[in-house]
């Protein structure tokens, strides 16, 4: 394939449409007779609606309807109880959508929403996660289906007997996904059939959920998702916006469009749970790990159990004879947490890779070398050899590119004027998985080809990557291939999430292309269209369950203002082993994006909860800070030329999450190296480091 399209840096196919503004997003399609929906959030945390007075709202100019639990069309019970919106008067968390106002203009809908009067009976609430919360319990499993706890050897004895021990607790706050495009939908019912243009990460699954909730056949629901302005996990399933819009459209019997506001994205559409993580590590005097324990606490809601797999990262990352991991949850009166870029691995790696740094200091050993010493070719959790594990190569190449060799391990040893300078490292890993998918390939008489698959491009460049894979599989230049994605009339495909989109979609596309070539084998160009389809359900399901992971190593140099505590990054460098890279341009964008998001987690992002109100008070991008370009002078991402034949036909591992995993730890470790101060509660903001010259 080396002479083909895969591996070449093509610009995004939809780039010109996006930059000229002609690419349409969910609420940008012109629809005759369109109306506008506005979601009304509950003003209380926990309680019951006793009365809804819509008189004023309905009298407001342009308002057509107020949809609420008293008049909303009924929905069937579904797998996600939080999607059964406007069905009951019960309020489970502040901000829960309790009504939708539909009007002839956006502004009228918003004003109408303000005029809906709602009375509640309220009860006491609990919204703050603590490690001694009386509601702590052990879930039956953690996401998606991992055992809650694991144990091997005898951790307590192993830990007690070790000459070097680290026992540390890290805390991470709630993080909010904040894609640029909010959750947004245009919904139209025609003769019992539902058409939605929706912003999501997987139209096939959204269709299935809508069909279930509205009790119609999947064939009578069409979901179009041509362009998506990001999701970061929060659009991984059907969420509130699409359900509310479809419900409102059915109620008013007119097309409705609804986009959540930035403020409304903080909570009800999901967020990354806060975590409290205790990590205990023990090693011999040479830094060889003998005991590892990771105890993770996170929250879920009272409606639905979402058990973040925070400690799962620790099960397979480093080897030791005595190991234990546990997960505990608390049901709080909060919105249900949901996926956010590398759920589980991201917060878990922050804790473990920070603790490994603390252990390296306790041992008196270089943190790169300590990680190399504890590398393992066999998955400590499953006992099988990894299909490929290039953590050590990533660490070595990263160290070489970064200039790690000259590092003085002494904290606070480097100063540049008013700045204290330090460097940090962290490892990274993320599972390389694939899901069943289907795809269709068609040969046309003019020598061109059409490839169709209901994949989703959430801004990653997935459309372009699949197109490149398809061209090579068809054995033609990509210019002769047209690709259609993002529509449930196309062959069913899995979600853009879990770093498995490209692996899953390209698998089906390659099989469809192979089937088509088989059909075309004997002739020249066909006289009519020739089509072949593929469905990889059997093949993917029959794949042996081997430990397949991508790996990476982050290197960071920070400077910390000795007086004010301000933290800036001089540079951030990552080296990754993620299988075959289909498109260097979009791959680099994914890796740098993940690294930036990890940096943002380390220094900036924090959902600040006000317990009295039971919600996050900073709910816009002016007060919920994400990293800006000026915070980091240089970010570089590199990858190894890695070949792993146990993955999937395209040989890819996925790039969506590996860049964020471990990144926050590398920043935190660098801050410690610069200042001698270990901040174990993110974000590392200046108020925690102010006057650092007197702190250490």
């Amino acid at each position: 394939m080396s002479t083909g399209a895969v591996g070449r840096a093509y610009p995004r196919l939809e780039g010109p449409a996006k930059v000229t503004g002609t690419a349409r997003y969910a609420v940008e399609y012109p629809v005759d007779g369109i109306t506008y929906g506005w979601a009304v959030p509950s003003a209380v945390v926990r309680g019951r609606i006793t009365r809804i007075d819509t008189t004023e709202a309905l009298a407001s100019p342009g308002v057509l309807a107020v949809v609420h639990h008293g008049n909303a069309p009924r929905m069937a019970p579904g797998p996600q109880p939080e999607l059964r919106l406007l069905q009951e008067p019960t309020v489970h968390y502040r901000g829960q959508y309790v009504a939708v106002v539909v009007a002839t203009s956006l502004e009228a809908a918003r004003e109408g929403a303000r005029l809906v009067r709602i009375d509640y009976d309220t009860g006491p609430h609990s919204t703050v996660l603590t490690d001694d919360h009386p509601g702590l319990y052990k879930p039956d499993q953690v996401n998606p289906s991992y055992p809650t706890d694991t144990a091997e050897g005898d951790f307590d004895a192993g830990y007690a007997a070790a000459p070097v021990r680290v026992d540390v607790t890290y805390r991470t706050p709630a993080y909010h996904n904040n894609p640029m495009e909010p959750h947004a939908t245009t919904a139209q019912w025609h003769d019992g059939r539902l058409l939605v243009h929706d912003s999501n990460q997987g139209a096939s699954s959204v269709r299935a959920t809508l069909a279930e909730l509205f009790e119609v056949s999947p064939e009578s629901v069409r979901v179009v998702t041509e362009h998506v302005g990001g999701g970061f996990g929060s659009k991984g399933y059907a969420k509130a916006a699409v359900v509310l819009t479809a419900l409102a459209a059915r109620h008013v019997d007119r097309p409705v469009k609804l986009a959540l506001t930035r403020q409304q994205l903080f909570g009800p559409i999901g967020y990354r749970t806060p975590t409290i993580q205790r990590v205990r590590l023990a090693s011999d005097a040479d830094g060889r790990l003998t005991a590892i324990c990771h105890d993770a606490i996170s929250q879920t809601s009272t409606i639905h159990e979402f058990a973040e797999q925070t400690a799962v990262y620790t099960r397979s990352m480093y080897a030791a004879p005595h190991r234990r991991t546990t997960h505990r949850l608390v049901r709080l009166d909060v919105p249900t947490p949901f996926w956010m870029r590398a759920p589980g691995e991201c917060p878990g790696a922050y804790a473990l890779e920070s603790a490994v740094d603390e252990l390296a200091i306790a041992v008196g050993m270089d943190p790169v070398e300590l990680r190399i010493r504890n590398d393992t070719e066999v998955d400590p959790d499953q006992g099988q050899p990894f299909t490929s594990r290039n953590l050590v190569t990533c660490l070595r190449e990263g160290a070489q590119r970064f200039g790690w060799a000259d590092r003085d391990p002494t904290p606070r040893a480097r100063r540049d004027g008013r700045w204290l300078v330090g460097t940090g490292v962290a490892g990274s890993s993320y599972p390389a998985r694939a899901r069943p998918s289907s795809a269709r390939a068609t040969a046309r008489p003019d020598g061109s080809f059409l490839v169709q698959i209901n994949a989703t491009d959430i801004g990653t460049g997935a459309r372009t990557a699949i197109w490149q894979v398809a061209a090579d599989a068809l054995g033609v230049p990509p210019e002769r291939v047209e690709i259609h994605i993002g529509d449930t009339t196309l062959p069913t495909a899995p979600v853009a999430g879990g770093s498995m989109g490209t692996a899953s979609w390209s698998w089906a596309v390659i099989r469809a292309a192979q089937a088509l070539r088989e059909k075309l084998r004997d002739g020249g160009p066909p006289t009519g269209e020739v089509t072949a389809e593929a469905d990889t359900t059997e093949e993917v399901g029959g794949q042996p369950a081997l430990p397949r992971y991508a790996y990476g190593a982050h290197f960071v140099e920070v400077r910390v203002d000795a007086d004010t505590g301000e933290v800036r990054l001089n540079r951030m460098l990552g080296v990754f082993a993620a299988g075959r890279v289909v498109n260097p341009t979009t791959a680099r964008s994914q890796l740098i994006g993940g690294m930036t998001m990890g940096l943002s987690m380390a220094l900036h992002e924090e959902g600040v909860l006000d317990e009295r109100y039971g919600d996050w008070v900073n709910h816009d991008l002016a007060t919920y800070h994400i990293t800006g370009c000026a915070d980091v002078e240089s970010i570089e991402a590199y990858w190894l030329d890695e070949r792993d034949d146990e993955l999937n036909p395209a040989g890819v591992k996925g790039l969506g999450e590996i860049g964020i995993v471990g990144a926050a730890a590398a920043v935190a470790n660098a801050v410690h190296h610069a200042t001698g101060v270990r901040i174990r509660e993110l974000p590392i903001r200046l108020d925690k480091l102010i006057g650092v010259s007197d702190l250490a």
């Binding site: 004003e111 600040v608 006000d610 008070v617 002016a622 800070h625 990293t627 800006g628 200046l686 108020d687």
Partner: protein, 327 residues
């Protein structure tokens, strides 16, 4: 969003007359703050009186050596003005430390001075705020108040003024020219802003309907040696958690004159008179600068989450003055 009318007046007198006649009218400058607040339902004007086409968009030198800056001069243009850059670097730096390039292209001089606090409780109609809704209480006092005031707050309000520009103007003894229903009036900037007291909804001493038409900088040759330092939670596009505007005039190593003002510590841009007094007439040193800051902050009453603002403000005072002294 409440429906509103839009009016574009022909001149200042008409603008002021409309405001006098319409109890719920508001002036529209760049709209960078007002429009957000209208969407959030925090401000609900009936009429927007767009003043950006009025002939208030020039910067002119004055016979006394000072500078008059029209109220609708955009922040970007003011920051780039060669006389501002040469004679009042503190002003150019304050402007460039604020917001983003796009916002600075829109935001006006007058509007910047009258922008509202970014206290999260003020901006959320679902939460108690005396400034937004007098008598509803102050959720910030015992709430998430990391970003809020350490000086001069009241039980009714702990908000801070968000402007960087206003801090620089406070240090420069700026005169604010306003046009009220009964004619023009000059107000020293120190008299423009109010302490929150029992009426935090009243933020300035301007009469209702008053229009800022210009700000006038007095001649201040010492301001050629001036600076603005701003600390924020990320490197750009964020409001200050601490800021200082400083002008330093040394005679040898003795402080002949000094102007200091702080941002992010109070309901108003905070002119640090006590610190200035501590510095004036004494040989400059880092220690003196620190002592001056301490004198200014002696009466500070930090809230639960913002005690860090005291050492922060102290640190940037020392840094700003030390840099000026050695420049």
């Amino acid at each position: 969003m409440r429906a509103f009318r839009y009016h574009r007046p022909a001149d200042v007198a008409e603008a002021v007359a409309v405001l006098a006649a319409e109890p719920q009218a508001a002036y529209l400058g760049g709209g960078t703050n007002l429009v957000d607040l209208m969407k959030l339902g925090v401000q609900r004007p009936d009429v927007l009186v767009d003043v950006t086409r009025l002939p208030l968009d020039t910067v002119e030198g004055l016979p006394d050596g000072g500078l008059r800056i029209g109220a609708t001069v955009r922040n970007s243009d003011l920051a780039a003005h060669p006389v501002v850059r040469r004679d009042y670097p503190v002003l150019a730096r304050a402007l460039l430390a604020a917001a983003s390039g796009q916002l600075r292209n829109m935001a006006t001089t007058g509007g910047n001075l009258l922008q509202r606090t970014r206290c999260v409780y003020f901006q959320d109609t679902g939460k108690a705020c005396n400034k937004r809704e007098p008598g509803s209480g102050c959720a910030a006092l015992h709430g998430q108040n990391r970003d809020l005031a350490v000086l001069d707050w009241s039980e009714q309000c702990v908000a801070t003024h968000p402007s960087d520009l206003a801090v620089a103007l406070a240090a420069l003894d700026t005169v604010v020219e306003v046009h009220e229903a009964d004619g023009p009036r000059d107000i020293p900037i120190a008299d423009v802003y109010r302490s929150p007291g029992t009426h935090p909804e009243r933020e300035t001493t301007l009469a209702r309907g008053a229009l800022i038409t210009a700000v006038r900088l007095p001649p201040l040759p010492a301001a050629r040696r001036s600076t603005y330092l701003k600390v924020r939670d990320r490197a750009s596009f964020a409001f200050a958690v601490g800021s200082v505007a400083a002008v330093l005039d040394l005679d040898g190593d003795v402080v002949r004159d000094v102007r200091l003002a702080y941002g992010a510590v109070a309901h108003r841009p905070w002119r640090a008179y006590r610190a200035e007094e501590e510095l004036r007439g004494r040989p400059f040193s880092r220690e003196l600068a620190a002592r001056a800051a301490d004198a200014e902050l002696a009466e500070a009453r930090p809230l639960r989450h913002n005690g860090f603002k005291l050492p922060l403000t102290r640190a940037i005072t020392v840094r700003a003055l030390t840099e000026l002294a050695s420049s």
